[in-house]
């Protein structure tokens, strides 16, 4: 496996949204219901038919300057993906070639467990198809040695599809070059994500970014402990009942419970 990273350099992004359109086009997604919120950000959030979007944010820096911050939001493709862990149908899976998180919507049963589990709030449920959807890193393209559609469309080089080692080097070099608060986002949690950011500002400055994304501990509680316990518990009861039946025996009425005393041997 060659782990591949989609590296998003926010400092090179002009928010042209070519990537957003290319994503819609390649995945055959229609426009979704939207709402004007006073910014160019459209739609305001990810939708079942909007796998990625560019965030627009007016940010007043502590020194008083106003900065226009952009951020690409999409599935982060975690190495330890909560969605894959909870998915009961196998619709969500790890791509063995690249380490990304693929999705087979045919298999999705619409249980929405991934919606709650995802630490980045990415998967979206569609009432009409009763299925969840999310970015699959254009699996049909990457498996055929092409770049994801968003990367292909990016005119400024803000998006790159590169192998992990190279991506890390590029990101570090870019952070060094930018200086200040610039940092890499994505490599430090959930085993490392396969969409990584280079951010010119501190991560917690960005609206809607997840500061400390974690696979919820509750998942291992029910997946690794309670789940096997359900079979062990029932098995224990069945075994116990069988033992009880043969060792203690069933409850049977005593002679005095009968209206006419039965003949007792030796009594």
């Amino acid at each position: 496996m060659t782990e591949m990273i989609k590296l998003y350099d926010a400092s090179k992004c002009t928010a042209c949204r070519g990537c957003q359109l290319a994503c819609k086009q390649w995945n055959g997604l229609k426009a979704g219901q939207t709402e004007h919120k006073g910014t160019y950000q459209n739609p305001p959030t990810l939708q079942h038919n909007t796998y990625m979007l560019i965030h627009f944010q007016d940010y007043v820096a502590p020194e008083g300057n106003v900065k226009w911050l952009f951020r690409k939001e999409a599935c982060m493709h975690c190495t330890t993906a909560a969605c894959v862990t909870v998915c009961p149908s196998g619709a969500l899976y790890y791509n063995k070639e690249f380490g990304t998180v693929g999705m087979d919507r045919e298999k999705c049963i619409g249980c929405k467990e991934c919606v709650s589990a995802c630490p980045f709030e990415v998967p979206r449920y569609d009432k009409e198809t009763e299925k969840v959807s999310k970015c699959d890193m254009c699996e049909t393209r990457i498996s055929n040695k092409m770049n994801p559609a968003c990367v292909k469309a990016c005119p400024t080089g803000a998006l790159k599809w590169v192998d992990k080692e190279e991506a890390m080097k590029m990101a570090e070099a870019r952070v060094q070059y930018l200086g200040g608060d610039a940092n890499v986002y994505g490599d430090k949690f959930v085993g490392g994500t396969h969409l990584m950011y280079v951010l010119p500002e501190k991560a917690d400055v960005y609206d809607g970014i997840h500061k400390d994304p974690k696979v919820p501990v509750t998942i291992s509680l029910w997946k690794s402990i309670l789940k096997p316990l359900s079979l062990l518990g029932a098995g224990g009861v069945i075994g116990g009942s069988i033992l009880h039946y043969f060792i203690h025996g069933p409850h049977k009425p005593h002679p005095e419970h009968y209206d006419e005393p039965k003949k007792q041997g030796g009594a």
């Binding site: 929405k112 029910w222 309670l226 359900s230 518990g233 009861v237 009942s241 009425p253 005593h254 009968y258």
Partner: protein, 215 residues
């Protein structure tokens, strides 16, 4: 001679019991198929995994309704412990664990049955509530939903294990008791053994209904 048969349950009680039992077991079956990837094949008879979910969702409604009816019908008789008599029975483990000549006498339902009723009632309600939010997770948000899944599986662990306790004690563990949920009648001697105080009270009040079919 044949033992006298006593009417112990009404048709309505049995109807609610079986509605609850069938929906509960179907939910356990479909739930197992959804919970365990290894058991996904259980969905084959419903046309796949999605079919399991559809049946699970439908049966959940039947379960919720019959659970409410069961609680409304039984909570007075089976939902309240009466001390000290129930305590005596608990100390003797109902005569199920070691040999006793005389099991402490309790009312119509013994503390074991009461514990089972309360477990089903409480865990059942837990399943209904958590299940409801699994349909509408956006009502609670991610952090609370994480615990909803834990509680739903926890409720299943308890109900699934208790089901087999119930199955054993209601059939071969207490021969003659299963008819209470089939014909609604039980043999008088079995009843005198399992529910002696109740039989005495009913006889005293003249309410003991002896079935007159002489099969």
């Amino acid at each position: 001679m044949k033992n006298k048969m006593v009417v112990v349950t009404s048709g309505y009680e049995r109807f609610v019991h079986w509605a609850l039992a069938i929906s509960c077991l179907t939910l356990c079956y479909t739930g197992l198929g959804i919970l365990f990837k290894e058991l996904n094949f259980l969905g084959v008879i419903f046309g796949g995994l999605k079919g399991l979910v559809t049946v699970h969702d439908f049966m959940a409604v039947i379960f919720a309704i019959s659970l409410v009816l069961a609680i409304a019908m039984w909570w007075k008789e089976a939902g309240i412990f009466v001390f000290p008599e129930d305590w005596e029975w608990i100390k003797a483990a109902g005569g199920y664990l070691w040999h006793l000549d005389h099991v402490p006498e309790t009312g119509k339902y013994n503390p074991g049955q009461k514990a089972f009723f309360l477990t089903v009632a409480l865990c059942g309600l837990l399943m209904v509530v958590t299940g409801f939010f699994m349909w509408y997770p956006e009502k609670l948000g991610g952090d609370l939903m994480d615990w909803v899944y834990v509680l739903h599986v926890l409720g299943f662990v308890v109900i699934f294990a208790f089901f087999f306790v119930h199955l054993y004690l209601g059939t071969i563990g207490n021969p003659g008791s299963v008819s209470a949920m089939i014909s609604g009648k039980m043999e008088l001697p079995v009843l005198r053994m399992l529910h002696p105080k109740w039989v005495k009270e009913m006889e005293h009040e003249g309410k003991l209904m002896i079935a007159n079919d002489k099969k």
